[in-house]
């Protein structure tokens, strides 16, 4: 017993010592903070606060707009989208040609282009990157499904690569920027159990981009240094280092920008935060019309929405002006069709639907199906989705249609949208830019061949299909533009969805940042054009 008591006393004494040491450590730590902090910051460093986490750096797996910075700053493609409206420019390719049947695309690579490890970029690397993209069945691979088959891409010589499409595709060029070229030897060296190097490339890079990865932590973000040997000539001024950090909280991103911790943050902040930033001395807000439409996907295959009069009643029941002017403070552009206003092929002078309850009642009176309560899907965590749904609910109640809101997270919503039985009666959401071609919107969303995958409206119109299919294989831009104009107008007239607005990008940057170039695909995050003032 004495021995136990002695041990307990000894343990208590030890715990006291450890506790004292701990307290002393904290005290020292806190005391040290009173001392002035010496700032050690590299010259010309661009720090960006991003809302999405850089969970994975693999350019053939990550494909969302929120994490675009790792792809466009660390990697290169044969072509690249620049500016707004987006222009397709030669990038790693110095030229390309298309065969008469529109099935063979031949690209000639720039001479002297190098990967970050100094090895030359060759056609075989493009072939490997294409094969890897297809094989992983993730990221941008869906863009090439049914168009580029495995084993069909060939390196004709070290500088020339040829894609053989299984069918002519007018959108192939538009998707080429998504073939991010990786260093074959480096990735193969890290392949494990036939994984195409996915485990390694998720936290390393094997690119040739304008910046070279220096540090990465999925919980924090990544830092990269300027790649001086990049094939695209650098301007006289540039940032030596870029630092993309994950800052999920909007208020923290805004305060960090105002304090000078960050030089830029995402351009889709709520309008009250934009107003707050506009009032700050050191912040410049760049305003551009983007290509991200907000609409309600309406289930056209289910009664009573399978009746065009009911769908028109829905479209006339939404207060577009109230939503855009009052709720969003005019920060977006009214867009009445399933195409961004600023892309070629978007119909001009189409008025679209207005908030007109009398017309809504007229159309409702023509509906033969019995009325029932509608289920309006809402994306959890996205205020605008909820606000739009509530506004429509209010309009519907005034014409005697009952509805209820079902707020669910994106994985649940996306799951239901793929299932005809589970799909909501309608759901408010966005359609972003994956490639700058009208097919990205009206083609993906309303071609009946995409029903159940990207056509979540179960909309089918043979005339629209014909126009879209023709536009997809035609190489005549006039034909394509005319077809998309007609198709988008027909979808709007069919009231296949409730088309609300096209997003505006309000890019907040520190005034010291110059040379910002916005492109809807790159989201204004391609840093190679930016440079510090002075």
């Amino acid at each position: 017993m004495t021995l136990i008591r002695h041990r307990v006393t000894h343990t208590v004494n030890r715990l006291r010592s450890i506790g004292l040491a701990g307290l002393s450590g904290i005290a020292v730590g806190i005391a040290l903070t009173v001392l002035p902090i010496t700032e050690v910051e590299a010259k010309s460093k661009f720090v960006f606060a991003n809302s999405s986490a850089y969970d994975n750096l693999d350019p053939h797996i990550v494909f969302d707009v929120g994490r675009v910075a790792s792809r466009i700053n660390l990697y290169d493609g044969l072509l690249r989208w620049e500016d707004n409206p987006p222009q397709l420019v030669n990038w790693l390719a110095e030229s390309y040609s298309i065969s008469a049947d529109g099935k063979a695309y031949t690209f000639v690579l720039r001479k002297g282009a190098k990967f970050h490890d100094g090895s030359p970029i060759e056609a075989s690397d493009v072939v490997y990157s294409m094969e890897r993209t297809i094989a992983l069945k993730k990221g941008a691979s869906a863009l090439f499904a049914g168009v580029v088959e495995p084993g069909t891409t060939k390196a004709l010589d070290a500088q020339t690569v040829e894609f053989h499409l299984s069918q002519a595709s007018a959108i192939f060029l538009a998707t080429v920027p998504e073939i991010h070229v990786v260093n074959t030897d480096l990735v193969k060296k890290h392949e494990k159990d036939g994984d195409w190097g996915t485990a390694w490339l998720s936290s390393h890079e094997a690119g040739s981009g304008s910046y070279e990865l220096k540090r990465y932590d999925p919980a924090i973000g990544f830092t990269a240094a300027r790649f001086a040997d990049h094939f695209m000539p650098w301007g006289k001024k540039y940032y030596d280092e870029i630092d993309f950090r994950t800052v999920v909280e909007i208020n923290s991103r805004v305060l960090g920008l105002m304090k000078g911790d960050f030089q830029g943050t995402d351009g889709y902040l709520p309008q009250d935060q934009i107003i707050r930033l506009k009032a700050a001395d050191d912040i410049a807000i760049y305003e551009e019309e983007s290509m991200r439409i907000f609409y309600a996907a309406v289930h056209n295959g289910r009664a009573p929405m399978n009746d065009i009069n009911f769908r028109k009643a829905l479209s006339y029941s939404f207060d577009y002006d109230g939503f855009i002017t009052n709720i969003l403070s005019g920060s977006v552009a009214r867009d009445p069709v399933p195409l961004p206003n600023n892309i070629w092929g978007a119909p001009k002078d189409v008025k679209g639907y207005t908030y007109d309850l009398e017309k809504a009642k007229e159309h409702l009176a023509m509906v033969k199906e019995p009325q029932r309560e509608l289920v309006i899907g809402v994306l959890a965590g996205y205020n605008q989705s909820e606000q739009a749904a509530a506004l429509l609910q209010n309009g519907l109640s005034k014409i005697g249609i009952k509805s209820k809101l079902l707020i669910e997270p994106w994985p649940v919503v996306s799951n239901k949208m793929r299932d005809e039985a589970q799909m909501y009666d309608l759901v408010f959401l966005w359609k972003s830019t994956y490639y700058a071609d009208p097919n990205n919107w009206v083609g993906e969303m309303y071609n009946s061949s995409k029903i159940g995958s990207r056509n979540n409206s179960w909309y089918s119109n043979p005339e629209v299909d014909k126009l879209l299919d023709e536009a997809l294989i035609s190489t005549d831009m006039k034909v394509r533009a005319a077809n998309y104009e007609k198709a988008a107008t027909m979808v709007m007239e069919d009231a296949a969805g409730i088309f609300v607005y096209n997003t505006k990008w309000f890019g907040p940057f520190n005034k010291s940042v110059q040379g910002v170039r916005f492109c809807p695909i790159g989201n204004g995050q391609e840093v190679r054009w930016m440079y510090p003032k002075g």
């Binding site: 986490a53 969970d55 969302d64 919980a219 923290s252 960090g256 995958s453």
Partner: protein, 334 residues
């Protein structure tokens, strides 16, 4: 002996408790009507791509088969692959857990260091102005939302006064990771500048977490001291002429701390949960943000790993609380 039996008993319950936690978490996370595979595959994924991914992650199997495989894998330290990040969960957790634990430890330390003495003072100065002031502070601590307090601290101390950093765990990338605990790593590196920077970044998030915890500790300590101070042995010691200071801080406090220590164990678990909000506001790269992201993406493996690890931490901390009880209260050791 009784104490040893208690510890062994607690240890024996460890495995069944964790197993039960795994079964419950697994069942709940698989009952959600979401399709994490479809979400992970991306907006443009085809039905074939989604089906291939489902097979790859074994989600095409019956749920009991999935559960059996999962338990076996976790027993070998394998939490699976994240559906979202595509990396082993162990890697994702390992990069974030030290940040959360460090913040929680410091917050608990601050809360206990301030809360216990303030609780004693509140009790010994019962119904005095000091007691009233402390009551206002502690009630505020319990009532104020962590989210609001965090933003208030940011606006005042970081933006207005410029005394502390606004967010993050450190400027730049911090010390070379040895333990993942930056305070310790900075000390190991012998780099005072980084230590100072890490400590500065720690102040606001730790204070936000510590404030409500301190309030709880003050209230429990006060109640414990008041109960003990009215005991016969205190009256006897006073009659014997012991100085009041010795009676309170040596004898009364030891008896009063039993309830407080239990609370500290519970607080530790609560702070890990509250850390989600604080980590979001202060951009603290911890486990809380990872858990939220996993939930929003319906990343089964991430959700289950977080629940299991948080559960294990909670169980271990409460085991330590039981041991501490034994050390404080000799009756537990007999």
């Amino acid at each position: 002996m009784k104490f040893l039996v208690l510890v062994v008993n607690r240890c024996l319950w460890f495995l069944p408790t964790v197993l039960g936690l795994m079964v419950i978490t697994f069942t709940i996370s698989h009952l959600i009507p979401a399709d994490p595979i479809a979400a992970a595959a991306g907006e443009n994924a085809t039905a074939e791509q989604i089906a291939a991914l489902r097979v790859k992650f074994g989600l095409d199997q019956p749920i009991y088969v999935q559960l059996y495989r999962y338990v076996l894998a976790v027993a070998q330290g394998d939490f699976g692959i994240s559906l979202y990040t595509q990396r082993p969960i162990v890697f994702d957790i390992a990069t974030r857990l030290p940040a959360t634990l460090e913040l929680t430890f410091v917050a608990v330390l601050i809360a206990a260091t301030l809360g216990i003495p303030l609780g004693v003072l509140s009790a010994t100065h019962r119904n005095s102005p000091l007691d009233h002031v402390l009551r206002v502070i502690t009630v505020s601590g319990l009532a104020i939302a962590a989210f609001w307090l965090a933003i208030l601290f940011q606006l005042l101390f970081a933006m207005k006064l410029g005394w502390t950093p606004l967010q993050g765990r450190v400027d730049g990338w911090g010390p070379d990771s040895v333990t993942g605990f930056f305070l310790i790593d900075a000390v190991l590196m012998g780099d005072l500048e980084i230590l100072q920077d890490v400590a500065a970044h720690m102040i606001l998030p730790a204070a936000t977490l510590a404030f409500p915890a301190m309030a709880t500790i003050v209230r429990f300590t006060r109640a414990g001291v008041l109960e003990a101070i009215n005991s016969n042995y205190v009256m006897y010691e006073e009659a014997m002429g012991f100085p009041r200071r010795i009676i309170v801080w040596k004898y009364v406090l030891r008896n009063a701390l039993i309830g407080t220590v239990t609370q500290i164990g519970l607080i530790f678990g609560i702070l890990i949960a509250n850390g989600v909000v604080v980590e979001a506001v202060f951009d603290w790269p911890g486990l809380g943000l990872y858990a939220v992201s996993s939930i929003l993406q319906s990343d089964y493996n991430g959700i289950m790993a977080f629940a299991i690890i948080a559960g294990v931490i909670f169980i271990v901390v409460n085991l330590l609380v039981d041991i501490t009880h034994g050390l404080i209260d000799p009756r537990e050791s007999r």
